[in-house]
């Protein structure tokens, strides 16, 4: 076998396979992007939600939480927090707003980010929009995330 | 093909089957190993590797199937602790067997027995 399988053949598999599957990935990407509007909740992507995504980003929320299962694993999943908090953006806002500055002795706690009312509303709306994304099999498995 | 080449070929197939029995073809590969055993003679390299493969896989069966079976039996199917031990143990020990069988396979390709250290002294 070793005599018949040459370096040239190995090289061709590398180039051929690499290029072929890269093209497959591009094709699948085009198809995915086209079919996203069915699931991505983009109809609710308002200016406020976009601002909320920025608030989410510049406070590095992903550094502790997961969002649709991606991020850090230190704090709860937030992709379904809107449902978990009884479909109330007010509860989400209140939670963020009243974090103690010095934390809770001995326990993990969320920093006090001193967000403005507008930022609070925006990030809550962003989390509501995220909850509206139709994930396969309605992931996460249950309300606890 | 002379005897020596045939033996080397069988040694390589045995070590491959040993690895396959641990991964893609459990049971089937083991039966093939037993079949190869009947064709080998004592004190040959192919006998050495077919016996090694059989021993490795019997040990693996005990270490993986019997041990995890016992863990489930003793720990109970509904206890999270059972699965903590079973999954961590199974994944790790299974991987160790695969690594061992891989090293054996690489050795069999050069027609040498297992002995000889990874890094010479």
């Amino acid at each position: 076998m070793r005599e018949t399988f040459t370096k040239g053949m190995a090289r061709n598999i590398y180039y051929g396979g690499g290029i072929f599957f890269f093209l497959v990935l591009i094709g699948l990407t085009v198809d995915t992007v086209r079919s996203l509007p069915k699931t991505d909740n983009s109809q609710n992507l308002t200016e406020l939600v976009i601002e909320g995504k920025r608030v989410w980003e510049v406070n590095n929320c992903i550094g502790c939480h997961t969002l649709l299962g991606e991020g850090a694993y230190f704090a709860p999943e937030l992709g379904n927090v809107y449902t978990r908090f009884g479909e109330s953006t007010e509860s989400i806002k209140a939670f963020i707003k009243y974090r103690p500055v010095e934390g809770i002795p001995g326990r993990r706690s969320m920093p006090q980010f001193n967000l403005t009312e507008e930022e609070l509303e925006a990030v809550a709306q962003f989390l509501k929009y995220t909850d509206g994304i139709k994930t396969a099999r309605d992931w996460p498995p249950n309300i606890q995330g | 093909m002379n005897t020596n080449e045939l033996q080397l070929k069988r040694a390589a197939s045995s070590s491959l089957l040993s690895l396959l029995n641990l991964t893609f073809l459990p049971v089937l590969a083991f039966i093939s190993l037993l079949f190869i055993y009947t064709k080998t003679e004592s004190n040959t390299i192919d006998r050495y590797y077919v016996v090694l493969g059989i021993k490795t896989n019997l040990l693996a069966a005990v270490a993986l199937l019997l041990m995890t079976g016992l863990m489930i039996l003793l720990g109970g199917f509904d206890s999270p602790w059972t699965w903590v031990f079973v999954i961590s143990y199974f994944v790790f020990v299974h991987a160790m067997f695969i690594l061992f069988a891989s090293w054996a396979m690489v050795r069999s390709w050069t027609g040498k027995k297992l002995k000889r250290q990874f890094l010479s002294k």
Binding site: V24, G63, F74 | P80
Partner: protein, 460 residues
């Protein structure tokens, strides 16, 4: 060392190791925060520590890859580096940019850092692993381009070997896919989808090309096995890496609002992803078994074998463990992911850089191999770090299984924080293993300074 400009690698490696120490210090800090939630709060909250931990990892691995390329490419190309001054200049630019970014994370709140660096002009911050301010990202691109130009010109005007061409391809891929970090659409699903074009196509794509070529290079050097044989293995390994890994990106598209077919595609192709890593193990075992000489640098041989084995375990086995969609449904975003991440990064990328350092550092210091004592200490540090990383992985796996059971699988699922409290015992054990890892790292540092009997040189 055949070419003088190979020596530039030394400064890159020293920086890499220094940042590695920083990374681990923040790692054990976070490990403690997992069980003592108020540790260093609010001065260094978890998210900041994590950002420093992961970003230092990325930056020091990049230093390691660049250093490796500067050492390897001139020798393979059989000429001096195209522009040594550029390599030195880029070193300082990258180091200063990296240091300023880390200081920025630590000294000002992240939101303030975003403001100071004018994130609003081109918002790219605040996504996992891509937390760097936009201006730092631009800096990374500039450094990468200058680096690739330098390496590329050296390869193109010199001898082209399979190793340096594959390495160059990997490095170009690294730079190209990093450009996706500038694309941050408002649509969260799109954002997540293309975020993986950086993260997955790096670590399960082009980085594998870099890793395989570095490993192949060291194995040629330490075993004396015929280049033809090694190059054939290299091609087939990276072929399998791309064939499985490109569409294998789909294992990240199960639950983020992307079409259902990804569950099939992602599962099937990523189930093949252990194959290239397994072949790397066979490759390393095979060439070490068939070696034509016993290289005096035993530590480097050990690192090379260790890389192949640990990459297979961490990336291959622990990746496969949770890559099938029906399993990932329960394990996605739990400590299982953390377990896999730790062992895969250590086994594949940390260890391959340490392999290159182990092989090349003595040569740059004018020796064939480090002295007997130094090698002994280095080998001790290998086992300390590697075994404690195995322990970290096992404890996180155990934590993950428990977490999945209590929070996801059970008929009466418990809240996240309640479950976390129940995992404390695993987190304590992980922290102890982390501290042992840190001690192994100190041992590793010490190995560079240990004096002892020179190795006997057996010329081949």
């Amino acid at each position: 060392m055949k070419y003088e400009s190979q020596g530039i690698a030394k400064m890159y490696f020293i920086a890499a190791i220094a940042l590695f120490v920083g990374q681990i210090l923040f790692g054990v800090t976070m490990g403690l925060q997992y069980v003592m939630g108020d540790f260093l709060f609010p001065e260094i909250p978890f998210n900041v520590a994590r950002m420093v931990h992961t970003n230092l990892l990325i930056v020091w691995l990049l230093f390691g890859f660049m250093g490796s390329a500067y050492f390897l490419v001139p020798e393979e190309a059989e000429r001096e580096l195209y522009a040594p001054w550029l390599a030195k200049l880029m070193f300082w630019i990258f180091l200063v940019a990296g240091a300023l970014t880390i200081l920025g994370y630590l000294l000002v709140p992240y939101a303030r850092l975003a403001e100071l660096t004018m994130n609003d002009l081109l918002p790219t911050m605040g996504r996992e692993f891509l937390e760097q301010p936009t201006i730092t990202k631009i800096g990374i691109v500039i450094v990468a381009l200058a680096f690739i130009y330098n390496i590329g010109m050296t390869v193109l005007t010199g001898r082209k070997t399979v190793i340096n061409v594959v390495l160059l391809t990997g490095l170009v891929g690294l730079a190209v896919f990093f450009l996706f970090s500038f694309y941050n659409p408002d649509n969260l699903v799109m954002d997540k989808y293309f975020w993986w074009f950086v993260v997955h196509l790096w670590v399960e794509g082009v980085w594998e090309l870099i890793m395989a070529s570095l490993l192949a290079y060291v194995l040629i050097k330490v075993t004396g096995v015929d280049r033809e044989v090694i190059e054939k293995w290299l091609y087939i390994i990276i072929a399998m890496a791309l064939i499985s890994g490109l569409v294998g990106t789909g294992h990240h598209f199960f639950w983020i609002g992307t079409p259902d077919y990804w569950q099939w595609l992602g599962s099937i192709f990523s189930a093949l992803e252990p194959i290239p890593f397994f072949m790397m193990t066979l490759f390393a075992f095979n060439v070490v078994n068939k070696r034509r000489r016993d290289h005096p640098n035993k530590a480097a041989v050990l690192w090379a074998l260790g890389t192949a084995v640990m990459a297979f375990l961490g990336a291959g086995v622990w990746g496969f463990l949770h890559t099938l969609a029906p399993i990932n449904f329960y394990t996605h975003g739990t400590q299982i992911t953390a377990a896999h991440g730790h062992m895969a990064f250590y086994g594949a990328y940390v260890m391959v850089v340490l392999t290159m350092i182990s092989y090349s550092m003595p040569l740059m210091r004018g020796q064939k191999a480090a002295n007997v004592t130094a090698q002994k200490i280095e080998i001790w540090s290998f086992w300390t770090m590697t075994l404690s990383m195995v322990a970290i992985t096992l404890f996180l796996t155990a934590a993950g299984v428990m977490q999945v059971y209590l929070q996801r699988y059970s008929a009466d699922p418990l809240p996240f924080m309640v479950v976390q409290d129940k995992l404390a015992v695993f987190y304590w054990l992980r922290e102890v293993a982390g501290l042992i890892f840190l001690s192994g790292l100190f041992l590793y540092l010490y190995s560079f300074f240990a004096k002892g009997e020179e190795v006997k040189l057996v010329e081949e």
